[in-house]
Amino acid sequence: MKKRTRIGLAIVCAIPILSPLLFMAGNDYLIQAATRIFIYGILVLSVEMCWGQTGIFTFGQAAFFGVGGYFAGFLATHENITDIGLILLVAVAVGILAGTLVALFLFSGKRVGELYVALVTLVISFVCEKLANSWTFVGSGNGIPGIPYPTIFGKTLSSSIGLFFVAFGIFALAMMMCIGIIQSQFGLAINAVRDDEERAEFFGYNRSALQIAIFIFSAVLASVGGALFALSEGFISPSSLGLALSTSTVLWVVLGGKGTFFGPLIALALLESVNVEMRSILPSLWQILIGVMLLLTMIFLPKGLTSLGEKSRNNRKNREQSKKS
């Protein structure tokens, strides 16, 4: 395992150790916010696997997130199924099904451009949001409220700390799976497709199969994230399927640095930590500020926040080399 990966994992593992301290300090709100960050973190991982590692610019990942959330909400409220293991299994199945349908449409034929994929996924997210808004069966604009607390081994998970650990556990599992994939030969193969998909085909790679596989995997991650979101928040609404969340996810990845796992997660944690407060302090300006931040990042740090470390490492290397010479 690379040094940077080890450091990142150590930081991630430190969070649940520190968080009970916050809980003991009575800060339930922080625990809920941290839970949300881990859930969105699963969504970020799904985009990073697609876009950052395979070059599939998915601009509608919230659609899978929301669909997973709606299925979880439906099972819990209509079918009285609250077992978290069962709900997550259904979310996996839903992710596989939805991901396969979209992936086959996008990648089973000839090579398609990044922009085409972005537009198709964006439209899917838009249509899903519109559908959820108008379909009374899924609560129209109100979504599905009053989702009961999930159960685990027959016990109700009613405390925020319990939900936090579940979210963290699933996030950590997703993170380990993603790192495992990237460090395997499969990771090298999807990177080859990302960097030059035509060249990869000339080596003999089945580009289409690799893209379909990774798209389905990321749809599963998003769907599981959505199910966890619905269970921890107690509701799911059309906004969880829509453009705003899809755009936010892309924003976190761009700000943090596409092609890395920790950069986008740090960007997510930073922005989500201040999001609620900033919206109340600067209701009309906050979205503009985020836009400006995105613009500045793209101009001055096109590889995102993580490239700051890379730049300083390169500078240090250059200084060492000039000293030697």
Partner: protein
């Protein structure tokens, strides 16, 4: 049986006939050169052979297997490997990783996920690193290699999986005389393991290297023969040599 047999290939782009009834062949362990002035159809022919362009008509047979309508992946799996004019390597990856990318390309998905062949390929990677003079750069990202080394790396990647036929598009473009001489040796040694088809502008380079040369002009074969025959052919002098 001929290793690579290209029969009656034609290709039109709109009203422009880029290739008209072109036939060439390459035998095992043979080096065949493909020359011609700009716009003569060399690249279109190479692309029709490797699957980047699908020909309008004709046949591309490799070891007797028809490939003319297949995609590049099928051709690669059938034993075809290509080095492009501008080195298309993975610049953010190390030399070793580049070679692994090439070697593992035909593995199944499950094998890739399990990293099932990484150990198996290590000796081959070391062998290629030595053969292509990249020992000091094995763990260097490919973007830091010189132009010549990048070209060698791409040839090494093409040779990695022991192809039946190696297609080289101007392998010495932009190289120093020393690098060109080294490249010629590498191609010669590659021909001991497979057939080689080279598209090249430099007749001096190609005539010392190839067993046979085919000259293209206006999308048709203008001449074909040994380097000596080609040099002495008045038609070739007229259409090609005077324009170099």
């Amino acid at each position: 049986m001929k290793l690579l047999e290209v029969v009656g290939i034609s290709k039109k782009f709109g009203n422009l006939a880029a290739l008209t009834d072109v036939s060439i062949h390459v035998d095992a362990n043979e080096i065949v050169g493909l020359i011609g002035p700009n716009g003569s159809g060399k690249s279109t022919l190479l692309h029709s052979i490797c699957g980047r362009t699908i020909a309008d008509g004709g046949s591309v047979l490799l070891n007797g297997k028809e490939l003319v309508t297949t995609n590049p992946m099928v051709r690669a799996k059938s034993g075809m490997a290509i080095k492009f004019q501008l080195a298309r390597i993975y610049v953010e990856k190390t030399v070793r990783e580049n070679l692994m990318i090439s070697l593992q390309a035909k593995d199944g998905m499950w094998s890739l996920i399990r990293s099932g062949t990484s150990k198996k390929f290590m000796p081959r990677i070391e062998e290629l690193i030595v053969e292509f003079q990249l020992v000091d750069y094995a763990d260097t990202e490919a973007k830091y290699l010189s132009h010549g080394q990048q070209q060698w790396l791409e040839i090494a990647m093409a040779m990695a999986s022991n192809p039946s036929i190696l297609l080289l598009d101007e392998p010495t473009a932009g190289m120093s005389p020393k690098e060109r001489a080294d490249t010629a040796k590498l191609i010669k040694s590659a021909s001991a393991k497979c057939g080689v088809l080279i598209v090249e502008h430099d007749l001096d380079f190609i005539k010392n290297l190839c067993d046979r040369i085919t000259v293209l002009h206006h999308g048709s074969v203008a001449a074909s023969g040994t380097p000596k025959e080609i040099e002495d052919d008045p038609k070739v002098k007229e259409v090609y040599l005077t324009r170099v």
